[in-house]
Symmetry: C2
Subunit: 185 residues, 2 copies
């Protein structure tokens, strides 16, 4: 059973080693992890495309061929998850795939966003707003409600740790894979 | 022809006024803009769901019923677009809808991310990396390559301004609607 491993892990200094570590956890649970950098069979027509377009189409193809997505929602350069990962969750949701998500950050979205804003946060009767007056969403979700909502509606699960974990920690990822394997195997 | 207006505009102090302004531009081009906060016919079974889940399912329903998505990719609390918007682009992409995107920020993604990182940016032979050693994607795209890639592959368009515009500016949005109307009407 193929599962697509969405996440900003591709940006790490040694992404192939990271991909191998994530795949080993999947294999231990009887799942075949597909890392975004995994090649797909090369179509000659694709070679004329710019590299960014080839990568985008390859990742879409990986997701179309998978039975589920397991996504790393750890915050990335701001209070929310990496947008490449988020795009792929939306893509998988419309395809009807179950989505399993995990994060190494224990904070709810609103608390994490307030921490990010720091002194720029403003509070009024409508809630917390940033320096541009834009509301901080506060529904007790892990990230923007479209993400929590899609994971739930897809039949998947969203796992976060009790305390903060280092980015490299795989405990929560392992729990997520175990959960996915119970549904998929 | 219905077009879904994805964007963080729902977080503005007066989101209904903003929605009305965006819809007026759409109407001027013969399109019916659907704002995320627009109600859908209430299903009694939905009322038992938590509010966040109801909103997520309502927005998904709006997109399923639309002929295209016009998305505000202006940076939101970090170098990338709002993740709720990005989720909806991924969702629309898998549904096969054309995606039109606009931003008020003229910078390519890599330059904007370097500005965001400031002194935390590190440079080596592989490119620019953040304090966690994670690579700054640099393909000349407007945001993460999954977004630029999906817009292009969907048959849509991605418009950015020559100079920085205030968030409230609608010139680029109008250009985006005009472009969508030429395809859809």
């Amino acid at each position: 059973v193929k599962v697509y491993l969405a996440g900003p892990d591709v940006f790490l200094p040694d992404p192939q080693a990271r991909g191998a570590a994530l795949k080993a956890v999947c294999a231990a649970h009887g799942l075949r992890g597909v890392f975004p950098l995994d090649p797909i069979e090369d179509d000659p027509a694709w070679r004329a495309l710019p590299e960014a377009q080839r990568i985008a189409l390859r990742n879409e193809a990986h997701i179309r061929a998978a039975c589920a997505v397991i996504a790393n929602l750890s915050p990335f350069r701001g209070p929310s998850a990496d947008v490449g990962t988020v795009f792929e969750i939306g893509f998988a949701r419309a395809l009807g795939l179950p989505i399993f998500a995990w994060s190494t950050d224990p904070r709810p979205f609103a608390a994490r966003t307030r921490d990010f804003l720091g002194d720029a946060a403003r509070h009024d009767t409508t809630g917390t707003r940033d320096a541009q007056g834009m509301l901080v969403e506060d529904f007790g979700c892990t990230d923007n409600l479209m993400l929590d909502g899609a994971v739930i509606a897809s039949g998947g699960a969203l796992l976060t740790p009790p305390p903060q974990l280092p980015y490299s920690d795989l405990d929560i990822f392992s729990g997520c894979v175990e959960r996915a394997a119970r549904l998929l195997r």
